[in-house]
C-alpha cells in the first residue's frame, strides 16, 4: 500500500446515493480504496452495504454520485463492461456447467482463444487447489469447494477490483477460520484490490486492512480494525463492533484534557480523557470494553483508574476467559471479561461475591451522543 499511497486510489466513490422510491438505501457515501487494499464494508442488514456493493458491480444504477475505478468513471457502465468481478454470497455457480466451464465462462465471453482459456483456467484451478474436480458439476461439491470455484471464477478475468459478498457466511465455523487465512493469503499473493461486504465483525476484522462501518446508508467510521474497535466514533459503531458497556453521564468538570462526569448508572464520578473543552452539564456517553475492566475482591489502587462496586450476578466460564455480569447498586449491569491466566486459580471471583470493578481512565471511550 505504501508505494501507491500517493497514486490515485483504485476505487473512488463520490457522494454516492441510491433511493428506492421514498427509501434511501445509500446516502451520500464517499470512500477512497487504495490499490491492493483488502477493504471491508461492515454493517447490520439493511444498512445499505449490499446496495453499495451492487452499485460497484453495476447491477444497480446510483441515484446520484460517481464511481471511479482506476481513475475511470464507470458509473454508467453496465456490469459486463466493468473491470470488476463479484463473488456472490450464494456463489451463483452455473449448475449446468462443470467446474472448468464455470471458471472458463468469463474468458469465453472475452473471446479468448481456447488454448489460452485452458491455460488460464488451469492456473486458477491450481491456485484454489481444485484440479482433480475440474470435470464435476457444482452440486457434486462441498460448500468449501463451491466457494473456491466461485472465487476462481471471479478472479480468472484478473479484475482490478474483486467484490466479495459475505464470503464466509455459508461456511461452517472450522472451514471459516481456514478460509479466512486462505483468502488473505491469496489477496496478498495476487495484489488485487478486494472489497468485502459483511455483517460479521470478526470476518471484517480478521480479513480487512481497513473497515468502513455503515449505518442507515451512511459511513459511520472508516479505520483499521484497531481504530474502529478501540476508538469507535459513534455509539452505533461502538455497540456494533464487539461487546461494550455504554454509560450515559453529565459533565461536572473539564480541565487539563480530562473530563469528570457524573454517571447515574454507576452512582460515581468517571474520568475520561478529552482534548476538547466541554461545558459543565453537557450530556455525553462513555464506553468501556469488557476486557478493559479488572475485577477484584480487594479494593484496587484508584490512581488514574475509574472504580465502581458491585455484585457478581452471572458468570460464564469459557476456558480461556470468564465473563462476568456485575450488578451495580443503581441496578445497572456491567459486562466484564477476564483472561484465565492461572491454571485453576485459587482466589477466583464467584457468584454473589462483592467485587470492585476498575479500568484505566485512558481506556475509557468518549462518545458524543
Amino acid at each position: 500500500m505504501s508505494q501507491h499511497a500517493t497514486a490515485t486510489p483504485m476505487v473512488q466513490i463520490r457522494d454516492l446515493s441510491k433511493r428506492f422510491g421514498d427509501a434511501v438505501a445509500v446516502d451520500g457515501v464517499s470512500l477512497d480504496i487504495a490499490r491492493g487494499e483488502l477493504f471491508a464494508i461492515l454493517g447490520s442488514s439493511g444498512c445499505g452495504k449490499t446496495t453499495l456493493l451492487r452499485m460497484l458491480a453495476g447491477f444497480e444504477q446510483p441515484s446520484a454520485g460517481r464511481i471511479l475505478i482506476d481513475g475511470v468513471d464507470v458509473t454508467d457502465a453496465p456490469p459486463y463492461e466493468r473491470p470488476v468481478n463479484l463473488m456472490f454470497q450464494s456463489y451463483a455457480l452455473f449448475p449446468h456447467m462443470t467446474v472448468f466451464e464455470n471458471i472458463a465462462y468469463g474468458l469465453k465471453k472475452e473471446r479468448l482463444p481456447p488454448p489460452k482459456i485452458k491455460e488460464r483456467v488451469a492456473e486458477m484451478l491450481a491456485l484454489v487447489r481444485l484440479e482433480p474436480l475440474a470435470a464435476r458439476k457444482p452440486d457434486k461439491l462441498s460448500g468449501g469447494q463451491q466457494q473456491r470455484v466461485a472465487l476462481a471464477r471471479a478472479l480468472v478475468k484478473q479484475p482490478k477490483l474483486l467484490l466479495l459478498d459475505e464470503p464466509l457466511a455459508a461456511l461452517d465455523k472450522k472451514l471459516r477460520e481456514h478460509t479466512q487465512f486462505e483468502l488473505s493469503n491469496l489477496q496478498y499473493q495476487l495484489g488485487t484490490t478486494f472489497v468485502l461486504v459483511t455483517h460479521d465483525q470478526h470476518e471484517a476484522m480478521t480479513l480487512a486492512g481497513r473497515i468502513a462501518v455503515m449505518a442507515e446508508g451512511r459511513i459511520a467510521q472508516v479505520g483499521t480494525p484497531g481504530q474502529v474497535y478501540e476508538y469507535p466514533a459513534t455509539r452505533d459503531v461502538a455497540s456494533f463492533v464487539g461487546n461494550i458497556n455504554l454509560i450515559d453521564g453529565r459533565v461536572t468538570t473539564c480541565e487539563a484534557g480530562r473530563i469528570s462526569l457524573q454517571c447515574p448508572a454507576l452512582n460515581a464520578q468517571v474520568a475520561v480523557l478529552c482534548e476538547e473543552q466541554l461545558g459543565a452539564g453537557t450530556e455525553i456517553c462513555v464506553a468501556v470494553r469488557p476486557e478493559k475492566i479488572t475485577i477484584s475482591r480487594d479494593a484496587p489502587d484508584a490512581r488514574d483508574r475509574n472504580v465502581v462496586k458491585g455484585v457478581v450476578r452471572d458468570l460464564g466460564y469459557f476456558g480461556e476467559q470468564s465473563l462476568y455480569r456485575v450488578l451495580l447498586q443503581s441496578g445497572a449491569v456491567l459486562q466484564v471479561s477476564a483472561q484465565n491466566i492461572k491454571r485453576m486459580a485459587t482466589k477466583t471471583v464467584e457468584w454473589d461475591d462483592e467485587v470492585f470493578l476498575s479500568w484505566e481512565v485512558a481506556s475509557t471511550i468518549l462518545l458524543r451522543t
Binding site: 458491480a57 453495476g58 447491477f59 453496465p78 456490469p79 459486463y80 470488476v84 468481478n85 463479484l86 456472490f88 450464494s90 451463483a92 455457480l93 452455473f94 449448475p95 449446468h96 465462462y105 468469463g106 465471453k109 472475452e110 458439476k137 452440486d139 471464477r153 471471479a154 478475468k157
Partner: protein
C-alpha cells in the same frame, strides 16, 4: 431396501397400502381394462353382427377353446399407404402446433415469472381461465370468429381492408390456430414453474462475467429451462397427435389427422378391429416420447441427488 419397524405398528402401514391401492385399482379398472379390450378387438375380424367383431376365444366342437386372432388389421395398416401418410401428417401437425405453442408460450411464461408475485397470480389465473368453459364450446366459438361471415372477415370487409372474405376456416391454418389456442396453457404452466425457480443471481453472475443480457439468456436461462420445455412440449404434443375435435370442427376435408380416421373407422365404416389397430399403433407411437421423457426426468433426479 430395509424394512423399518414403525412406531405405531402395522396400522398406519395398512392405511397407506389401502391409500396406494385405490388409485392403482382405479387405473387398472378404467385404463388398463379398456386398453385390453381395444387390444383384443384389434386382433379380431369385422363381422356384420352385434358386436361387430369376432370373439377372441372360440369354442370348438369338442369343447376345445381355440384362440381366434389375426394380425390382418395391423398388416392392413402397413400395406395401405393411406394410414402411414395420416400418421405422419398427424405427427407433423402436432409437432408444428407444439413448436408454435413453445414459441408463443416461452416469452409469456418468462414474462409472467418476472412479474411481482401479486401480478403473477393474476396473470396465471388469466392463463387458466379458459378452462372454465367447455373445450368443445371454445373450439366451436372459433367457427364464429373465422368463418366467411365470421367476426374477423366481417370486420375486415367493413373497414375495406379486403374485398373478398379470407379463407380462415376449414383448413390447416384453422387447425394450428385451434391447437395453439387450446393447448397453450399446457405449455405455459410447466415453463412458468421452471422459469420462476431460476436463481436470478445466476443472471447477475453471467452479466458480471461479461455476458450481455441476451447472452446470459442463451447461456443460462435457456439451458436451465430445458426440463420445462420438454415437459410443456410433451403435454402439448401427445394430446395434439390424437386430437379429434379441433380437426373435425376447424379442419378442411383435406386435413388428415389420425383422430378423424379413428372416428371414421369406428362410426362410419363400423370396422372396429381396424379402428382398434389404429389406436394401438397410435399409442405405441406416443409411448416412445413418453418413455424418453421419463428417462430424461430420472436422469435429472439422479443428477440432483
Amino acid at each position: 431396501m430395509t424394512t423399518r419397524p414403525s412406531i405405531n405398528g402395522g396400522d398406519s402401514r395398512r392405511w397407506l397400502r389401502t391409500a396406494v391401492l385405490v388409485p392403482y385399482a382405479w387405473l387398472l379398472l378404467f385404463f388398463l381394462m379398456p386398453f385390453l379390450i381395444i387390444l383384443k378387438i384389434s386382433f379380431a375380424e369385422p363381422v356384420v353382427a352385434q358386436p361387430p367383431f369376432t370373439a377372441l376365444l372360440e369354442w370348438g366342437q369338442q369343447g376345445w377353446a381355440g384362440i381366434h386372432a389375426t394380425f390382418e388389421n395391423f398388416l392392413f395398416l402397413f400395406e395401405d399407404d393411406y394410414y402411414g401418410i395420416i400418421y405422419l401428417a398427424s405427427l407433423k401437425m402436432a409437432a408444428i402446433g407444439t413448436l408454435l405453442c413453445l414459441l408463443l408460450g416461452y416469452p409469456m411464461a418468462y414474462f409472467i415469472a418476472r412479474q411481482p408475485p401479486r401480478r403473477r397470480q393474476i396473470l396465471l389465473m388469466a392463463v387458466i381461465l379458459p378452462f372454465w368453459i367447455s373445450f368443445l364450446l371454445r373450439v366451436y366459438a372459433w367457427i364464429g370468429l373465422l368463418g366467411n361471415r365470421g367476426l374477423i372477415n366481417e370486420l375486415l370487409l367493413k373497414t375495406g381492408i379486403i374485398d373478398t372474405p379470407l379463407a380462415l376456416l376449414y383448413n390447416d391454418f384453422a387447425v394450428y390456430l385451434g391447437i395453439v389456442y387450446s393447448y397453450l396453457p399446457f405449455m405455459i404452466l410447466p415453463l412458468y414453474s421452471n422459469l420462476e425457480r431460476l436463481n436470478l443471481d445466476l443472471l447477475d453472475a453471467a452479466s458480471d462475467l461479461g455476458a450481455r443480457r441476451w447472452q446470459a439468456f442463451v447461456d443460462v436461462t435457456l439451458p436451465l429451462s430445458v426440463p420445462g420445455i420438454v415437459g410443456g412440449c410433451l403435454l402439448v404434443f401427445i394430446p395434439a397427435v390424437g386430437e379429434f375435435t379441433i380437426p373435425a370442427l376447424l379442419g378442411g376435408a383435406d386435413t388428415l389427422m389420425i383422430g378423424r380416421v379413428l372416428w371414421d373407422e369406428f362410426f362410419v365404416n363400423r370396422d372396429w378391429p381396424v379402428a382398434s389397430a389404429v389406436s394401438i399403433v397410435l399409442l405405441l407411437l406416443l409411448l416412445v416420447p413418453i418413455l424418453w421423457f421419463q428417462r430424461n426426468q430420472d436422469r435429472e433426479q439422479e443428477a440432483a441427488q
